[in-house]
């Protein structure tokens, strides 16, 4: 079965520092991977996806993610975090029935 794991419940960084949110995946076949962000009491917003091609994927709000096949990882990154990046982040993988399975989420707190 397709699944993703987010090993960190919480990530804390200072504003201006690099931000990394980790995700590892387990799939049979080629993975379709996604990142979403959720602000309090809001729906999920799509950030970026990896389908095929370049291992470094650029997305919305200055985020990018690096697909690493050998490490089965798809970590989300931002070179310089902002206080407004504080939110809940979800990694997801598409299963063979075309539905998304989500990780448990990582809460990011960026302190001023």
């Amino acid at each position: 079965a397709q699944s993703v794991a987010q090993p960190e419940d919480q990530v804390n960084v200072a504003e201006g520092n690099p931000l990394t949110v980790k995700c590892t995946y387990s799939v049979s076949g080629n993975p379709y991977l996604f990142w979403y962000v959720q602000y309090p009491n809001r729906g999920l917003q799509f950030l970026l996806k990896y389908i095929t091609g370049d291992n470094l994927v650029k997305g919305s709000y200055g985020f990018e993610a690096e697909f690493n096949k050998s490490q089965t990882s798809f970590h989300l990154k931002k070179p310089s975090a902002l206080v407004s990046d504080s939110a809940l982040y979800f990694c997801a993988v598409r299963d063979p029935r075309n539905k998304l399975s989500f990780g448990a989420g990582t809460t990011v707190t960026v302190r001023a």
Partner: protein, 113 residues
């Protein structure tokens, strides 16, 4: 452009009362539609999905049901709410045949007392 609407945004209901949450998508046709539940502000659980009018697939046995009376309308219902039905309900859509990303509504927060 496509938009998705959910209502009501917030709902407080007594145990045993009925429920109806609605979701509509505009600007697209024949979307795949999904209901997710998010408990305690964390992980998402897929409840139902639909690939067309009247076609509903249930992912988990529960006290809820879903219907799709029109192409771009998806309804989540219950005849008698339980305390455990409390949560944040998210509707999502994607176009058939795309690469899989979902687009979510703003959610409906249900509190059962």
């Amino acid at each position: 452009s496509q938009t998705i609407h959910q209502w009501p945004a917030t709902l407080v209901q007594p145990v045993g009362s009925p429920l109806s949450l609605e979701c509509t998508v505009e600007g697209t046709s024949n979307p795949n539609l999904y209901w997710y539940r998010q408990a305690a502000g964390r992980g998402l659980q897929l409840l139902f999905y639909s690939v067309g009018i009247g076609q509903i697939s249930s992912e988990v046995p529960q006290n809820l049901s879903a219907s799709r009376p029109q192409d771009r309308q998806f309804i989540l219902s219950s005849k008698k709410l339980l305390l455990s039905d409390s949560g944040f309900y998210l509707c999502a859509w994607r176009t058939s045949g795309n690469t899989g990303e979902l687009f979510f509504g703003e959610g409906s927060r249900l509190t059962v007392l």
